[in-house]
Symmetry: D3
Subunit: 287 residues, 6 copies
Amino acid sequence: MLEAAMKKAEVLVEALPYIKDFYGKRVLVKYGGAAMQDCDLKEKIMQDIVLMKYVGMHPIVVHGGGPEINAMLEQLGIVSTFIDGQRVTDLKTMEIVEMVLGGKVNKQIVAGLHASGGKAIGISGKDGMLIKARPLQGQAEMGFTGEVESINPMIIETLIENGYIPVIAPIGFDDDFNSYNINADLVAAAIAVAMKADKLVLLTDVPGLLRDPRAPESLISVVRVSELQDYMNRGIINGGMLPKIRCCIEAVTGGVGRTHIIDGRVPHSILLEVFTKEGIGTMFVNE
Amino acid sequence: MLEAAMKKAEVLVEALPYIKDFYGKRVLVKYGGAAMQDCDLKEKIMQDIVLMKYVGMHPIVVHGGGPEINAMLEQLGIVSTFIDGQRVTDLKTMEIVEMVLGGKVNKQIVAGLHASGGKAIGISGKDGMLIKARPLQGQAEMGFTGEVESINPMIIETLIENGYIPVIAPIGFDDDFNSYNINADLVAAAIAVAMKADKLVLLTDVPGLLRDPRAPESLISVVRVSELQDYMNRGIINGGMLPKIRCCIEAVTGGVGRTHIIDGRVPHSILLEVFTKEGIGTMFVNE
Amino acid sequence: MLEAAMKKAEVLVEALPYIKDFYGKRVLVKYGGAAMQDCDLKEKIMQDIVLMKYVGMHPIVVHGGGPEINAMLEQLGIVSTFIDGQRVTDLKTMEIVEMVLGGKVNKQIVAGLHASGGKAIGISGKDGMLIKARPLQGQAEMGFTGEVESINPMIIETLIENGYIPVIAPIGFDDDFNSYNINADLVAAAIAVAMKADKLVLLTDVPGLLRDPRAPESLISVVRVSELQDYMNRGIINGGMLPKIRCCIEAVTGGVGRTHIIDGRVPHSILLEVFTKEGIGTMFVNE
Amino acid sequence: MLEAAMKKAEVLVEALPYIKDFYGKRVLVKYGGAAMQDCDLKEKIMQDIVLMKYVGMHPIVVHGGGPEINAMLEQLGIVSTFIDGQRVTDLKTMEIVEMVLGGKVNKQIVAGLHASGGKAIGISGKDGMLIKARPLQGQAEMGFTGEVESINPMIIETLIENGYIPVIAPIGFDDDFNSYNINADLVAAAIAVAMKADKLVLLTDVPGLLRDPRAPESLISVVRVSELQDYMNRGIINGGMLPKIRCCIEAVTGGVGRTHIIDGRVPHSILLEVFTKEGIGTMFVNE
Amino acid sequence: MLEAAMKKAEVLVEALPYIKDFYGKRVLVKYGGAAMQDCDLKEKIMQDIVLMKYVGMHPIVVHGGGPEINAMLEQLGIVSTFIDGQRVTDLKTMEIVEMVLGGKVNKQIVAGLHASGGKAIGISGKDGMLIKARPLQGQAEMGFTGEVESINPMIIETLIENGYIPVIAPIGFDDDFNSYNINADLVAAAIAVAMKADKLVLLTDVPGLLRDPRAPESLISVVRVSELQDYMNRGIINGGMLPKIRCCIEAVTGGVGRTHIIDGRVPHSILLEVFTKEGIGTMFVNE
Amino acid sequence: MLEAAMKKAEVLVEALPYIKDFYGKRVLVKYGGAAMQDCDLKEKIMQDIVLMKYVGMHPIVVHGGGPEINAMLEQLGIVSTFIDGQRVTDLKTMEIVEMVLGGKVNKQIVAGLHASGGKAIGISGKDGMLIKARPLQGQAEMGFTGEVESINPMIIETLIENGYIPVIAPIGFDDDFNSYNINADLVAAAIAVAMKADKLVLLTDVPGLLRDPRAPESLISVVRVSELQDYMNRGIINGGMLPKIRCCIEAVTGGVGRTHIIDGRVPHSILLEVFTKEGIGTMFVNE
């Protein structure tokens, strides 16, 4: 038994250089996808985020919630139109989206962080006028589907300084205080830039950027911004991944230290990314 | 025109002694009833609360939301049972209650305060582990209808110190992080006591405690705790008002400076209560 | 009665946008003229200033006191010479000036602010070495009539931060710690510039700058610095008003947000200027 | 020359234990009498006080000003009545008293401290509502001659914390904001008690308490409160000294560490008292 | 490889509840014995202490250094007398003791903590007048072998608040600023009590308190203060262990949360004690 | 006796302008040479430094210790080689150097400052990673004789802000945490530059820079950097003084306000330098 304990001690000590490097750093975690549906994965992600907080980092969570929204819309018999994979959000739908994201998913994450020993506050982008939004540009017919106009990170700073983990639902507001449904990846990138985060981690349902989408071993570990056009020309970046990769590029060129797409389906994927030399997934570098 | 302006100036100056008296004071406002349904009344309440903040008070808002909950439950075809006027809350209902209170009503109030020039943060009692709950005592069959076990006011202190108006949905959590639906009056009283608030104001749909419920002019302006039993014996306090009055008594004996039941249907009722010598409604005094 | 109260509430709420705009702003009030002689006007000015403090502004008062000085000199049988409207100040006169301004007028204002519910500290420009003075340039024969050489605003910052309203007598000191009698308008402008005040308000005995001095309705609401020469050429600005207007220009070109000449004879004139869209008097703009 | 310098160094070093002992201590100096009339003595007192500030003490100055008041009253042809050595202060006289103390004497001391390298602020007991007064008890006919009702030391704390030496004119105010002329010794003792001063030093025109008033060598160095009655019975304490000694007793029984009556006519008397083992004058001890 | 990484992640997460419990806690580590001689053990202890700091605890190190002192005394040909296992310390010896402990051992530990990524400051009990000493009571012939008279923990507070790990050599000083050699266990206990530490850990060369000294499996995990006399009567506590156990008792009755004797020869023994449910060694409880 | 006391008071007052000028200033004192060997001189230096602290300066002490090192090496029979006046430091010697400087000399100075009433902390350049070192450039055969690579003054800032006098042994560390013996003058200059000290004072065994080394009256009071080459050409600066003068030049061109070489053999030499208009020794000016 003592030997087993000593092995555990060794593991803790191995993490020491990473803990040291990330002390006081701000890490923005976009939480979504499978990692949000599977109970076990979810618990592990919560533990990872709480651990990050305890060892001195400042994790900030932005979450999505598509499946929960769909389920509720379905129960209410509301049918949505989608254009280019984005939901057209009419007023009735927006009300449901806001309710589900801000009142259900957001609070579940808060409870999950508390259950793992953390101290969290769940807000939406309307609280503290955090996310100023506007309708998705050039696509007036999208209704209350919006994009980020500006970020006022004051409330996040307040929460961080007072020891809380901020959990943010991707809802924005406009000049007339209408609500907008914004893609959570976009919100995560915008907040990461506004807060000069040291790291942005997008939890996805793929291992990262793959040369061959069917071959996980073809993972590209590092993508330089300068190589991007080439990857697009060669068709390596396409459809599904394009929006996420755009977010990464925006973040990294906007001053975020490092940006990662990682596989949320891997247990403790965030911890692996943060406390492991190799990391996992694909990292974007501003070169 | 100058004369009109000078009259306005006089009014501002008349408010000066009240502004002075309440400088730095904490005022808990339970917001609910008609004042929440009528758009015009709602806007006026928002203005009142923002004004209080600007002249140096610290308003804290706890809100209800029964009608919105009912509407959503109805849309979803969920039928509730009520025992003694309290909803029996099963898991499915609780999910809807939490979503409507925390995701819709709460954020509407936040937006309203922003529209009036304030700076607000909407949270539920799960955020920052604000409201520890337990099932309503002695009534196990009430499901997730709960009562306050304890209040951890740290997050409210943080928000107040940083210039925000906290807006609180009356949702609690238990040891297993289940959610509980708690009466908003009870929550308001418990938070007022925990924060040693200087004032608790319950917005209701009656003018206050009336000797004769049909005669508004029979309003009792001040109720001493010592007179209470007498009022009950004489049937002046009964059914509908009893729970609210119990909240007031709990607050005032728990150390809250002054506790008021006022008529939320009167425009700017809070301002009248705070900035007027006579005040409105019924005040409870710990004598 | 309730209706009257509700009207008052409406007025308070109307002031909200102005209160919001001026929150945390520094407003320098030069107090003098008729507003200082008339008891009723005086009380109203005191109320205005205290109200400004309570709703989050930082008023700073600089006062004159010519009539009181004259009265005391007369009682003592001291006769003064005046050159270009400025008193020639010999040592004996200076002693009286300092005593009357710093010991009488200054403390009366402090008491007036206290009577209106404020918290004030009265100092002269010698305290905390606030106003470094020199003899009025090119006019050696003026004795201890001086002008501002430099401002050390540290004591004002200290008082403001600790919740006090600073009340300042326009007395300066030179390298040998001689006292100087300085025009209060000049002092107000210099302190406003040194403190990067957001507003300078000169209380005068005229409605503002008039196209026709006999016609109050010919008031010029806004004067651009660039138009000034033209006004002077046309004789609109002349004799009596020239020094005051020079102060305004100095302040506005020195970085003070807005500078106003208002009519101190109008009750609550400061409040009207600050909390009214139209304002009163003449505003100087650095354009 | 080097030897002379080395001797000076020795003197500085000798002061070290006293500097250490008094570091951070609050010393209330009642400044008055001959030390205020003689220019050379005055300069030395100013130097002593500034030195105390620089070596880490917090000197607070309360001053009198009888001779200056008399001179001004005389110039104005105002005749005062005295009862038991206290001036009967009518309204006209009070105005002069306040003007002379707050506008002349107070500011001269401030200038003197500045000339010696200090940083001082001169206020009266009306500023910051420092000295609440009431008419001298049981002697209504004394007019505005008052006594201390209560002290609000907040402004003194603010000034001390910000590095200033507070200089206080002994003027109080009542509920109607009337001004009162209060004996400076009384004010000094009251402030010393309110601020829990470590030392109160009254500068007088006698060497201290003498067994034989004609024999300076009969100085009593230490007076225990318990011995007082005996001294009075034996006539050692009488007429002139009684009020000062009462102040000392009040201070020392009110919690002031040590209270001293010293001879202000001795150059650098304060420094001698503070930095010398023997001290000078008479010390009062609460035994 | 991913699996191995995931196992590591699991270990980190297992530590989470302990990290949470000890967040902000003060842990006094007495470092000595074999753990100080063996290079590999030493490195592991350094890592453990640095890790504790990074996960939010405040470790404070007190060290011994007997073998190094002996080696240097031997090199210099100085022979020591021992009475009851304590060295008789003459002046010459004291000089060597101080030099070896404060100049060599202390700085080696500091360097070791730096090499593991920490930030440490090495001081002796003379620095900041931390350890006031007196000669070992009733044993005048012990020379400069001393015991703790009082602790002034100010410098430790300063270092902790600024992020440093304090490393303390067990040297004290008396009124004449003579140096004293004090048993490091005694110093550790005294500092733990003075700082109200949450934990005191003595690293020793035994597994803890054993019922049968030859049988490690006879380890007594918890010792209640009330059982102590019984253990002594039964001879379980004797000679070698008695002083250490006295230190533990003093600490635990002096208010230190928990006190432990653990086996410094076990790699990562501190980490095992702190982050393991079972802990290792013997814990003393004030019951 | 009173007269003697009054003369002392005069001396204290004479120091006032210097005390005022140096208030809050940082003064780096290199302590070494005869001033460290002679008991009486030593006590006086300690008094000077403590006095500086009490009158508001921030003295920082860097010390040497050659004679003590030599004595200990001799006792241990270790023979050193010197190249160009610098000791070749092998590992064994380094251990002794570190022990003597950090464990003996350093703590003696700390005790001396405490005996004079100060509050000091003794550290070496390894503590808080204060002095990063490298082998003396281009002279690999010097062993662990090093030079300063960089200074991390954080620990000094912490100590100063908390009221301590830092006492620093000139030991550095490299990337592998080896210890290095560095010339104390070099360390003093490097720390003075890193901390933007206002003054650097090197205590030496000569009166300063002399035109004729045999004639103390040929002292050069001020040396401009621009004159230096000339002094070297003319042989005025040579052998012994060259390294010290290089340190002064480095400091003064590195931003240190004023740099001085003074005669540590003169009692209270630092006080004379700081509190005397003429000063003593040679001052270097960046002109």
